[in-house]
């Protein structure tokens, strides 16, 4: 009926959402549990391990180790766990690597789609909520063992500060004020950050704290990979500030790692 045709425009409030578009028009592309598969997969799929985020003076630092494990085997030494979500935010993934990477990709597309259709960005709060809904969507898969728990951080342009959010498997969203870590080595990383975090840290200091925490996590947790000097693989580190999402160059990360390891070698007399 013609009347319904124009009214639909107002009801269709999900017009700017890419996820709703997929659900409506290409449901086969939606990530999530395959219907009928009720049990956990026979073999453990690769899992990403430790990611963390630290707030500092200019914004936030996000960092993650580069290892994925499947059971007691290394599945990948070079996996990337920190993704640019959009110009002012990033998402760090921990948990089942496949669904987690897919979720990050879908989240990126969702934010970009919204931005293009609406002509402006979602607020940081809006982005964090959207991610929480996506994690809730993954709950059936999580019940089968494919748990995805990201960490979301970004620069809030309105507040002029960095903010970070952690999640649980049901999509629960909790804002953390200063730092947080997620994944199998997260407890150790958090413990390290608890001692290292200071108010108003500069970039250098925040970078060092993040790397120290990752190295501690790699020390204590078998799943987390430390800096690999032989192959030249180092944690991936990003900063998100007023000037956007930026990679910390590999060289800088390597120098910082080497400095930390040198300090520890000096201090550790047989401990």
């Amino acid at each position: 009926m013609p009347l319904d045709r124009w009214r639909g425009v107002f009801h269709n409030y999900a017009n700017s959402s890419f996820i709703e578009l997929l659900r409506r028009e290409s449901p086969h592309l939606m990530p999530g549990a395959a219907p009928g598969a009720a049990d956990a997969p026979p073999e453990a799929p690769p899992h990403g391990t430790t990611v963390l985020s630290v707030r500092y003076r200019d914004g936030v630092v996000m960092a993650g180790d580069r290892q994925a494990v499947a059971g007691f085997q290394v599945a990948s030494r070079r996996i990337e766990k920190i993704f640019k979500a959009d110009e002012y935010s990033g998402v760090g993934i921990a948990g089942a690597a496949g669904p987690a990477t897919e979720m990050a990709k879908l989240f990126q597309t969702e934010l970009e789609h919204y931005e293009k259709v609406e002509g402006e960005n979602l607020s940081l709060e809006g982005k964090a909520n959207r991610l929480s809904q996506m994690i809730r969507m993954n709950l059936p898969a999580a019940m089968q063992g494919l748990v995805v728990v990201p960490i979301f951080a970004g620069f809030d342009e309105k507040a002029g500060t960095g903010r970070l959010f952690k999640y649980d498997i049901t999509g629960g969203r909790y804002e953390e004020t200063n730092y947080d870590a997620q994944g199998s080595g997260s407890k150790d990383a958090r413990d390290a950050l608890k001692k290292l975090w200071k108010r108003d840290m500069g970039r250098e200091e925040a970078l060092r704290a993040a790397l120290e925490a990752l190295i501690d996590a790699a020390d204590e947790d078998v799943g987390t990979g430390g800096p690999d000097l032989v192959r030249g693989i180092f944690p991936s580190v990003k900063t998100i500030t007023r000037s956007g999402f930026q990679d910390v160059p590999d060289d800088e990360v390597r120098r910082a790692c080497e400095a930390i390891l040198a300090d520890r070698t000096r201090q550790a007399d047989g401990s």
């Binding site: 017009n15 890419f18 578009l21 997929l22 028009e25 290409s26 592309l29 990709k105 879908l106 597309t109 970009e112 789609h113 293009k116 259709v117 002509g119």
Partner: protein
């Protein structure tokens, strides 16, 4: 039930085309120019919120003239097409050609099947990845006619005159400021007023940017660019 009046197909198409052309002619024009670092899109548009030019995908931009609600619908449909395609295959597989074909099909179907044709013309531009590569510019008319254009393109009420002006004045390898100035002069070719940055909406597909090449030029920067070229 009374029988509808018979109207010959020729007459019906002619009437529809005339109707669409009249609608488009009422609106302001848009020009697109290839320049040294990409593709420049310039629209006469005093609104800073209702856009005629928009980003579709990494290297693809959209411009529309005519009835706003109609080309806005087409714009969103284009973004959906591109995002779904890029998500299911890869970002590199999203092309202006496929999108332009989709627009052509859609407008062609609307023109022949609906009582009222769309009063719009749209343009899809894709900037080449590298400096030597070919840019692509597709111009789609209200009846689904599709043309691929080189160097420059014009749409809207004064398109004919603008095209004639650009034919005489366009040269390859223009800098951004020169291309902008030429575009603005082209837009005013049939009017005896001059356009300032307040009357313009300008965006560029900037090859030097990483991944998302689309960049709007804000009003202050526009004033500066127009100033340096003056």
């Amino acid at each position: 039930m009374p029988l509808p009046y018979y109207v010959s197909p020729e007459q019906m198409m002619k009437d529809k085309a005339e109707y669409a052309r009249k609608g488009i002619a009422r609106g302001r024009s848009t020009v697109t120019l290839e320049c040294a670092d990409g593709i420049l899109l310039v629209a006469e548009n005093p609104s800073t919120l209702l856009h005629k030019i928009s980003e579709i995908y990494d290297r693809i931009a959209f411009a529309g003239v005519g009835k706003y609600n109609e080309f806005e619908n087409l714009r969103i449909a284009g973004i959906r097409h591109a995002d779904v395609k890029g998500y299911s295959y890869s970002r590199g597989d999203v092309t202006a050609k496929a999108l332009a074909n989709a627009y052509s099909q859609a407008l062609g179907n609307i023109f022949t099947q609906d009582i009222k044709p769309f009063e719009v013309e749209v343009l899809v531009a894709e900037v080449a990845e590298s400096n030597g590569g070919r840019n692509e510019i597709y111009h789609i008319l209200y009846d689904g006619t599709i043309e691929d254009e080189h160097d420059y393109a014009a749409m809207g009420g004064q398109a004919e005159e603008i095209r004639r002006f650009l034919k005489d004045h366009y040269g390859e390898g223009l800098s951004l400021a020169d291309a902008l100035q030429l575009g603005v002069r082209a837009l005013t070719v049939t009017q005896n007023k001059s356009l300032t940055e307040r009357d313009l909406e300008v965006a560029v597909l900037d090859r030097t940017k990483t991944r998302r090449k689309f960049r709007r030029i804000p009003m202050e920067a526009l004033g500066q660019l127009l100033g340096t070229a003056r």
